[in-house]
Symmetry: C2
Amino acid sequence: MSVDSAMTEAAGATAAAAAASDRERADWLRTVADALDANAVDLVTLADEETQLGETRLFGEVTRTTSQLRLFAEVVTEGSYIEAVIDHARPEATPPLPDLRRLLRPLGPVAVFAASNFPFAFSVAGGDTASALAVGCPVVVKTHPAHPELSRRTAAIVERALQGAGAPSGVFGTVEGFDSGPALVQHRATTAVAFTGSTAGGRALFDLAVGRPDPIPFYGELGSINPVVIFPAADEARGAELADGLVASMSLGAGQFCTKPGVVFVPRDSNTETAIDVEATAPPMLTPAIRAAFDRGVDELLATPGVDLIAGGRGGPLVLAADTATVIANPLLLRTEVFGAVTLLVRYDDTSLTGALECMEASLTATVHAESADDVRDIVTKLERLAGRVLFDGWPTGVAVTWSQHHGGPWPATTSQFTSVGATAVRRFLRPIAYQSAPEELLPPALQEHNPLGIPRRVDGVLEPATAGEVRS
Amino acid sequence: MSVDSAMTEAAGATAAAAAASDRERADWLRTVADALDANAVDLVTLADEETQLGETRLFGEVTRTTSQLRLFAEVVTEGSYIEAVIDHARPEATPPLPDLRRLLRPLGPVAVFAASNFPFAFSVAGGDTASALAVGCPVVVKTHPAHPELSRRTAAIVERALQGAGAPSGVFGTVEGFDSGPALVQHRATTAVAFTGSTAGGRALFDLAVGRPDPIPFYGELGSINPVVIFPAADEARGAELADGLVASMSLGAGQFCTKPGVVFVPRDSNTETAIDVEATAPPMLTPAIRAAFDRGVDELLATPGVDLIAGGRGGPLVLAADTATVIANPLLLRTEVFGAVTLLVRYDDTSLTGALECMEASLTATVHAESADDVRDIVTKLERLAGRVLFDGWPTGVAVTWSQHHGGPWPATTSQFTSVGATAVRRFLRPIAYQSAPEELLPPALQEHNPLGIPRRVDGVLEPATAGEVRS
């Protein structure tokens, strides 16, 4: 379908999608989740052919994707997300205050750009699609060419499920092809863009979104280095375990994770470094272009004086190492994401860790491995400035889909405060409206005096919890 | 002070401002509010000399400004704003879920651009400054040249109050001069921009903010037409009252309000139009440039065939009128804000109102005057798309400072979902951080298990109300 046809259909569905109740939209999402689960075997077979990510990982990703759809269904029926606020009139105040009631409403059609590396969770039926549909925004997905048949199969399942659940026609569509990307961002009906991909690609689309005569929000998840700091006592207590954990995390899915640990700070002469053991298998990668970019990136790292190969081989996985003096002299080593199974150990001494961290740009995650004997507070404070998620004694490649998750960070990790993972993903596609002195019959149910939806609301400054509400279809 | 000096000082205060407790920051704001109130007579005298807005209006604006500072103090001590979310570990889940806790943290130094037309409420100590300081972001204000001495006097009072309240040195500063604007937006330490002003000026600074190597959020409040629709039964029942209300609203403060009603749809042969009575007084305006722009804008309106002067005179206030056919043929009449005391009546019949509304761009407000006999629902739905605040049977020029207020709208009214008025103004200057498996002693108080601050939190998916908490300084 052409961009203009898809977006015109989406625009045509906007009023009906916004008018659907939260329960109705939750039902759409649960129906899509059920349909994906029911087709999981077929979908995973196809996905494995196109991505070679392996069936175990892909079945897990289907589960994560359908959990995500169900979480957003829960988020909108719980109702806090709509941020209902009521201030009753205060005619006796100076100046007199009118009755004023506020909530969030859907923006309109959203353009979603699928990623290559999560063919389910960040693709056609991923977090961006789920969170936009959840709040009543039609979606047009630009599918990723790394899994074209899977994208088509998934889209067909999503469309049929939405239709079966009574969603308005045109509320979901897909487009294909490189040129459809810019056209989608610049289409007059597009009200927001959600993107997961490279910094270069994301920046180009971001520039188009903000360069429109009517700029629209661009929610991008771009590059990420994901620094890890291993403290001396942790290294001493469990260096071998840390080495194994690191190798497993950096080589998972051929290292094709936005949360892959790319730079690992280890004490000089660390047990961790000594215990690193990698068998180079040159694992298949998602596309020839991604493989070529990985090989180029590895070659550039290996060509940098002071960077040594300590385990694995050129095709990956491989572990490199350098001293802090080397990375401070070549700060691009700390800022250049090489997408794939490579990581760089940076050997620090007591004084050089801070200086190296100051050369870094922001990431999605930052990780600390420490024992109680380690003095971590100052470094944690620095890492909070560098990342949107700070992990202790784990590895960043798992991203739990929960109310509390945040998968973002300052530029260049993401282009906005809120992203596609976690309950607040829905807020990206909403805008506030305040109603002043509105007659009760013209107010949306969420703002009617007797709270028919039973949702949490702030009334005259006081947060009131959910109530039973009335039964509503 | 130079932009670089001011921003360097702000950057130096970032860690201390972020580390201050909510109660401490609330105390800063209340101290500033008290100091402004204590100096209100002097400040209003100076403001009236520089703006000629009149003492009554200016005393009211000081009260609004200090109420706003106190509201943001209340917002941060109430604590919901920090969006604390806790999901306890679920090792039994598939996959196992780690302990994950999320909250919002300050972005860093904020550049604030003062407006000409609210020398207190949208200037040095206005909503942008208050909401940024409230959440621990240092502020550098680019003062407005329309009230230079008042800006200096206000800044001195704010600085002394902050110092007296124990705020870190450098947390607040000002810069002057046209060239300091772009420099402020492009300074490496600036993490967000808040702007109130013209669409042209705002767009130029927006382009700089998003064009940085590291784009930063630009929160702009730009142009607004503020359509009003008077329905037939309301016109018949109280045309004279509506005429008086309109003239009072559009001429208030010489029409120099971002919420001035600029286009008013009236039934053909309306009582409202007949009752319009305006005495042209050519009221003083804020600056010679604003007066010149007003005169140019009025001349252009009067030169358009089909636009008639029905009351008042060229220097203002004045009321013009045209038929819907005229404005549909010249849609710029519906899209061009003329800042000052002029408004355009647009005479509609049963079928032409919808077509004219479809020519409009978004505004901060949209207003309906109706009686129960009027069928308003479809038009209200259209107005919801065109504005961030929909008013019934009032006039848009008053903006209550409350939890529920929203002062924004789709482009070109504002450049973002959240703006400087209302409790969510603070969210513009915050970003999420999630802590995974963090030791209790490294968690911020808001996320510690026993909830020492007593703030509302979402725990394992359930919103928990505020508790007594512990006494904290």
